[in-house]
């Protein structure tokens, strides 16, 4: 048991799985000698050698396409795209090859690969380094879309993702890479993909969120309890696709009021699907319109104004009060 940052926890997951399973390979730009631009793969090259920790040329489509080929032929590639904002260079490979190979061959080939990428704002980075476009991948049949919210669940989810027989898109919130530490057990832990967690229990209101936003949401929930006496239940989705409909329904039916919080752009974003699911499954339990507290439908602004784009505690509180007031 050690206190680890999320970067360290992900590193641990990779290291332990590579030790256990020879077929796991890590590949991407700067993942070897440099240990990754965020140091997530630090030390792996030394331990596992360059055949298994592969510094690739600068070409996202080939990184993903090569991973798909490796996965078909019996390896378990974990590829890193340096920022999710560059994954669109490989979009055709992700939607056209990774997501379809099992289906196209009626199960003859499957693609057990993980495509890791940092997402989201908060580290004073450049354009294209702060986006949160998980909806693209969640809308793509054949892909799973996972976003941990902290060291411990990041480790457990990544282990599950590496063992999953199908391609998993794995977003890592840059803002929480090193923001805090958590106890992470040495022994292996997994969390089934598709299962969310109740991050805080409450009866008055359901706040649904994930990734880096989970922490601001929890803060907001405390504030609501203190200042308004509102006890919010906070659901940390962990998987954006598949969505954990069951846990969502349960909570919504209990509280009747819902807020959704995400960094992603509002329109056609993850919040929309969550609203649609609740509409379908729990319409008659709803007492007020569901509130979306999200990024705006603008290009994610450069870092000086990024925090005005990303939902903050106050905006979440405002959204929650609105949901209660209606």
């Amino acid at each position: 048991m050690a206190e680890l940052t999320m970067v360290q926890a992900i590193n641990l997951a990779l290291e332990q799985e590579m030790e256990k399973d020879d077929s796991v390979h890590v590949l991407g730009q700067d993942v070897g000698v440099d240990g990754g631009v965020f140091r997530v793969t630090d030390g792996l090259l030394k331990k596992f050698g360059e055949d298994r920790v592969m510094d690739t040329p600068l070409a996202e489509s080939a990184i993903v396409g090569m991973s798909v080929g490796m996965a078909i032929a019996g390896l378990k590639p974990v590829c890193e795209l340096q920022f999710s904002g560059f994954s669109y260079f490989a979009f055709h490979q992700l939607e056209g090859q990774a997501a379809r190979m099992r289906w196209r061959t009626r199960g003859r080939y499957n693609v057990p690969m993980v495509c890791r990428m940092p997402y989201g704002g908060g580290v004073r980075a450049l354009e294209h380094h702060s986006e949160s476009r998980e909806a693209y991948y969640a809308h793509t049949p054949g892909l799973k879309m996972v976003i941990p919210s902290g060291p411990r669940n990041a480790r457990a989810l990544l282990v599950s993702a590496m063992r999953d027989p199908d391609p998993v898109i794995f977003f890592e919130g840059k803002a929480i890479y090193r923001a805090f530490k958590e106890e992470v057990p040495d022994e292996e832990e997994t969390i089934p993909l598709g299962e969310s967690q109740i991050a805080r229990e409450g009866d008055d209101l359901t706040i649904i969120t994930y990734g880096a936003m989970t922490h601001r949401t929890l803060e907001a929930a405390e504030k609501l309890a203190e200042e308004d006496g509102i006890e919010a239940e906070v659901i940390d989705l962990l998987s954006i696709s598949p969505l954990d409909d069951e846990k969502l329904s349960e909570s919504v039916r209990k509280t009747g009021r819902v807020v959704i919080v995400h960094e992603a752009h509002r329109s056609f974003g993850p919040g929309a699907e969550i609203i649609a699911r609740i509409n379908e499954k729990s319409f008659y339990y709803l007492e007020a319109p569901i509130q979306r507290v999200t990024g705006y439908d603008v290009i994610t602004p450069y870092f000086a104004r990024e925090q005005d784009y990303i939902p903050d505690v106050a905006r979440i509180v405002t959204g929650a009060r609105q949901a209660m007031a209606d």
Partner: protein, 363 residues
Amino acid sequence: MPRKKIKLEHSIEYLSILDEKGKPDKDLDPKIDKDTLLRMHRTMLLSRRFDEYQLRWQKQGRIGTFAPAKGQEASQVGSIAAVEDDDWMVPSFRETSVALWRGTPMSGLLLFNAGYNEGGEIPEGQNDLPISIPVASQITEAVGIAYAMKMQKKDRLVVSYFGDGATSEGDFHEALNFAQVFNTPNIFICQNNQWAISVPREQQTESRTLAQKALSYGMPGIQVDGNDPLAVYTATREAAERARKGDGPTLIECVTYRLSVHTTADDPGKYRDEEEEEKWEEWDPIPRFQQYLKDRRILRKKDIDSLEEEIDDEVKSAWDEVEEQIESLGDPLVMFDHLFEERPAYLEEQRQTMKQYREDKNG
């Protein structure tokens, strides 16, 4: 001195062995054994006749659109015959002759062309990827597979196919660069059939050859007469030897011609001259190869006749087979299979909705 020519790693060669009349250059003849030669010939002829039947069936609405291989049989068979049966094969979407060589049943191809996903199933034991419709989309996969072979210390290489048009896509470039950097056992077969739908080779790129694109990666590249199965075989064989020795990938440009339509949705009359087609008809790889086989007394006229009959029966019975298969196929609910190993709840729900809906409709 300060302005000097740079020496490249490789030079680009052109190779042909059979002349237009089917006479081989004696020194270069790869001396393929008789059985292989006959199997090559049979596959080329079968592919040709199968294309012809399919064109008819498509007109009759029995199957949907497809891309005939007519004219490219030598490029396809010459290359695939030069590697082992358990090497990997990564097609584009026009590799009927290759598929037949590998053992894919015609009924499978027909099923695919009739619009059934089940047609994409690769027979167990055959190390082939399925057709991929987006141009150049699985050249990178071929590199990944080759890398896996290397890691697993299997003596297997990967032959992959694509067209002249595909060389313009970014993925072609990225894939070949990766292959050379990771020194993978890949053979890249570019079937330059002179056209990418309506765009002629000369408008696709300004490089004199496609083979020279290998220089961009420090990779050996060679241009061969793609209507000459012996030349294609020889170049592929050499590439395979290099690959197996651990000397990495090769790009082979097969200069050939698409003698038929792009797909059945296409009308070449809109964009190319009949004269050009006629000129290339004279270079048809099948008669040329037959002449060579006849001259070597491996094949007689009457062998061809009986082979033609045999093939005719085979193709026709493939249709009967596929008709039966179609009848025995599951209902559309199968579209919910094979998305993931385990079907998640939301998909099962959707499946149930469809099921319910179909039951309501039908009864």
